[in-house]
């Protein structure tokens, strides 16, 4: 009985749940201290996420990009690199998707893959720069990533203000051509028969009509499964994991360190770029706008990967969780007037406790040893 408890407590997932619980608990303390009733806040948060099908759909939409950037970070982490550049790669992907989506106008079955490919390539380009600088000159990826994040940021603003793309009297570009939209049933749901059908099925109607529910989440799930398969079942994934855990032994076993570092960052970059492209094709306003600060789609990916313990499948759950908090947080602000910073503090606290949660198995170990010892003493 005790041993089973010890075993469950030592599982990483238990630590994660304890961390989430502690994060919420401490956020509640902060709320109470700031003069808000924690219970009301949690209720508003819960309702914000689950009260209507529309909200659930929006949580999923909000989660999709951070699940994918989370996959990018988790993947890079498994290969021994810290891809803090997911933010820049995401921006690069969205810029490339916007440019191709505006400049080309093929039928959807061509247009969509071309836009997505462009996004992936743009992300891969940034990742490739990071990877090759590390492979060739040993420059740490965190430094180059931070620099490239800013380059991507300003490049994006440059593109927004280019005459060819800038929509007059706005702070954004034109909307990409409709053939590139990946919103589900985009044409059908605004057609006459679609409207008629949806009128009869109010639940589904809310899900699709009132939101930009798109193919992104399905791609994210497929991608997570594929990355898992790639890392754990394929020879290339084996090589990259070996590199991540012990590059010297990997080198000794005939694995080319430089080349594989580059591959790893190319893949991680293209995953983040994909996330950027899917946001452009999937959700309104289907364009990019002048950024005054980072939108955190990549940085939230870091939290997603951390909460998931770098498990690709885990990124789906942690991405949805974080997306829920981010989306539901807006309701807390609207209904109770709590500043949105509180939600950010809560997310921060959870991530903090997850970093601390590595100690839980150690504590459990210590506690259980104590138990065994005192049991032996009782026997004698």
């Amino acid at each position: 009985m005790v041993q089973m408890l010890v075993k469950t407590l030592k599982k990483p997932i238990t630590s994660t749940f304890i961390a989430i619980f502690l994060g919420i608990f401490f956020a509640s303390l902060i709320l109470a201290f700031a003069g808000y009733a924690p219970f009301d806040v949690m209720k508003a948060l819960f309702n914000g996420i689950f009260s209507k099908p529309k909200n659930i759909a929006n949580v999923i939409i909000k989660s999709t990009p951070i699940i994918i950037t989370g996959l990018s970070v988790a993947f890079a982490f498994k290969t021994g690199m810290f891809n803090i550049g997911a933010e820049g790669q995401f921006i690069a992907g969205s810029v490339a998707a916007t440019i191709t989506g505006l400049s080309l106008n093929f039928p959807p079955f061509l247009q969509i893959p071309i836009i997505i490919l462009a996004g992936c390539l743009a992300g891969a380009l940034l990742g490739g720069i990071i990877g090759s600088l590390k492979a060739k000159f040993g420059i740490h990826e965190v430094i180059t990533s931070i620099m490239l994040n800013w380059i991507a940021f300003h490049l994006s603003n440059f593109v927004v203000n280019c005459a060819a793309f800038h929509k007059p009297n706005s702070s954004n570009t034109y909307t990409i051509n409709e053939n590139g939209f990946t919103t589900l049933f985009y044409k059908w749901k605004t057609s006459e028969e679609g409207l008629k059908f949806l009128k009869e099925h109010s639940l589904i109607s809310e899900f699709f009509l009132k939101t930009d529910f798109n193919i992104g989440i399905f791609l994210a799930i497929i991608l997570a499964i594929f990355i898992s398969f790639f890392l754990f079942k394929m020879t290339k994934g084996y090589e990259l994991r070996a590199l991540g855990l012990n590059s010297q032994a990997a080198e000794f076993a005939g694995i080319n360190i430089g080349r594989n570092t580059l591959y790893a960052m190319l893949i991680a970059g293209s995953i983040s770029g994909l996330a950027g492209a899917l946001v452009i094709t999937g959700a309104s306003p289907h364009n990019i706008s002048d950024l005054s600060m980072f939108e955190n789609n990549g940085f939230n990916g870091l939290s997603v990967a951390l909460i998931a313990g770098s498990s690709p499948i885990g990124c789906i759950a942690s991405g949805l969780f974080l997306g829920g908090l981010l989306y539901g947080g807006q309701f807390v602000q609207m209904q109770i007037g709590t500043p949105s910073e509180i939600i950010n503090i809560m997310i921060g606290t959870i991530v903090f406790f997850i970093a601390l949660a590595k100690f839980i198995p150690i504590l459990v170990d210590k506690f259980s040893k104590h138990r065994i010892k005192s049991n032996t003493f009782n026997k004698f």
Binding site: K233, M234, T235, K236, Y238, E239, R241, A242, L245, N246, Q248, A249, A250, E251, F252, A253, G254, I255, N256, D365, K369, I372, K373
Partner: protein, 516 residues
């Protein structure tokens, strides 16, 4: 034995458990003042645990400690230091980019009221100790620039600076060259002459014979015996340690060498500092022969292995396997040409500690059929291979297939690596320090495996710093000095003293300079 002030340390009925593992079971020890006392046992026998209890790193579950007949409770290393006990660990605890003086005074700084450290005073005091015990340490050198042997002396110096009377050395010779070992033994004698007591933890029989007066033997957490070293032979001590008779000499038949498999001609290689590390080295290994390379550490052994493996650029010269040149290609090409290497650093180069045993079993051959097909790993074939390795090479525990490699003991990690490299069916097997840090039982079985492979007609290149190992196992012995093979012996004409002389460059004087 009675508790008496004549003994520097007496431990009685020490019991310690880690979880369900009984590390020590009612172990006792009596160390006479002013002697060198060895604690002998195989890896994992509990000798380090016993001393960690004395030093306050661990607390015993049961048992008592007496210092000079007085009962003490040592809860932390601070208490141990207050009782004038010092310990030098196997892995040194020095700050690399601090000087020797800074490292020694760390935690014991002499400072004025403003908190400004009086380095001059500290330095003078250190020099006094250096002179007294002839330690040969430069107090102003940075740790990163001095040899391992000198780092160890810094550790000893630090203990002496704190005024200790009892010095515990944990496996002090594991990292030292033969010359440094004899230097260390001299220092230990200097200490006992001054009335200090030295306890050394080791599993090397030869060093016990040459250094200690008494020896306490521990086997699997149980106290076995305490003997007067002078009256016992190495074989007798070894038998007590492992619990059965051991053979220190390896039996083997005469080698029947065939054609030359591997050849190096006029090899030149630079080291990291762009200084010539190998200059004009030539050697040949024939099928069915073990070529042993003897030499003091740092004479080009590391660069030789790295050059063969294509981890390091060859400046000029030729490396040929089965007539094919492989220098300056890639590691992958070397592996494809049937060269398998057992690297000296098993945890850094040999294994991925956070991979499972079966993931490690396919390191270097995951691309081959049947272990993978169309880039997808075949788990059932990998499992079969792992089971075969565990069975054939006696890796323990038997059900470790899915445990992480870091959970295995050193000897079992090494057996896994050796098994993996041999099942590559190499034409040339390179074994670099294959028994480093292993206990007698594991050493015996590794030597047996190497000889079996030789008898199957493999060419084997054995590189080791342990001269005994080379003389015992190799059929032909080549001495490496300053990046060149300066002398070759056949096994029956090799004499430890003569080979040792060549290891020092043929001149005794040169040797002393090199190791000072």
């Amino acid at each position: 034995m009675k508790i008496s002030p004549e003994y520097a340390v007496q431990m009685r009925g020490i019991t310690k458990t880690f979880g369900s593992l009984m590390a020590l079971n009612k172990v006792g020890i009596d160390v006479k003042k002013g002697t060198i006392h060895a604690i002998l046992g195989e890896n994992g026998a509990g000798k380090t645990t016993l001393m960690n209890i004395l030093y306050g790193f661990h607390q015993a579950d049961e048992g008592e400690i007496f210092l000079e007949g007085k009962k003490v409770f040592i809860k932390t290393p601070h208490v141990a230091i207050a009782h004038k006990i010092g310990m030098v660990h196997q892995h040194f605890m020095l700050v690399d980019n601090f000087t020797v003086t800074e490292n020694i005074i760390l935690g014991n700084e002499i400072a004025n009221k403003l908190g400004i450290i009086n380095y001059k005073k500290a330095r003078n005091e250190i020099l006094k100790i250096v002179k007294k015990y002839r330690l040969d340490v430069d107090p102003d050198a940075k740790i990163e620039n001095i040899s391992i042997g000198m780092q160890q002396r810094v550790e000893i110096l630090r203990a002496l600076y704190r005024g200790i009377d009892i010095l515990v050395l944990d496996e002090p010779t594991a990292v030292l060259t033969p010359m440094e070992i004899s230097g260390l033994i001299k220092i230990m004698h200097e200490l006992t002459k001054d009335g200090k007591t030295v306890i050394i933890i080791t599993h090397k029989l030869k060093e016990i014979k040459s250094s200690s007066e008494f020896c306490t033997i521990i086997r699997r957490g149980e106290y076995i015996d305490t003997v007067n070293v002078r009256n016992k032979s190495e074989e007798e001590l070894g038998a007590k340690m492992v619990g059965r008779a051991i053979k220190l000499v390896v039996d083997k038949d005469e080698a029947k060498p065939g054609k030359t498999v591997f050849e190096i001609e006029n090899l030149h290689v630079y080291n990291e500092r762009k200084i010539s590390a190998i200059s004009g080295l030539c050697l040949k290994v024939r099928a069915g022969e073990i070529l042993g390379i003897a030499g003091v550490d740092g004479n080009g052994q590391k660069e030789l292995v790295e050059a063969i493996m294509c981890l390091k650029k060859v400046k000029s010269g030729v490396i040929k396997i089965n007539g094919k040149e492989i220098q300056n290609t890639s590691v992958l090409n070397v592996l494809k040409n049937k060269i398998a290497t057992i690297h000296e650093d098993r945890q850094k180069r040999g294994l991925i500690l956070d991979f499972t045993v079966s993931e490690n079993a396919i390191l270097g051959k995951y691309k081959l059929r049947p272990y993978s097909k169309n880039n997808v790993l075949n788990n059932s074939e990998i499992g079969k291979l792992t089971k075969k390795l565990i069975e054939n090479y006696d890796v323990r525990p038997k059900d470790c297939q899915n445990s992480l490699a870091k959970e295995l003991s050193g000897g079992n990690q090494q057996k896994l690596i050796i098994g993996r490299q041999i099942t590559c069916e190499p034409d040339l097997l390179i074994a670099v320090q294959p028994t480093r840090g292993l206990d007698v039982g594991a050493i015996e079985s590794i030597h047996r495996i190497l000889i079996e492979e030789r008898d199957k007609g493999k060419a084997i290149l054995l590189i080791s710093l342990e001269l005994d190992e080379i003389i015992n196992v190799a059929d032909t012995i080549a001495v490496i000095y300053n990046g060149n093979i300066i002398k070759t012996f056949s096994q029956n004409e090799a004499d430890e003293k003569v080979v040792g002389l060549f290891m020092a460059g043929g001149k005794v004087g040169a040797n002393a300079r090199k190791n000072s």
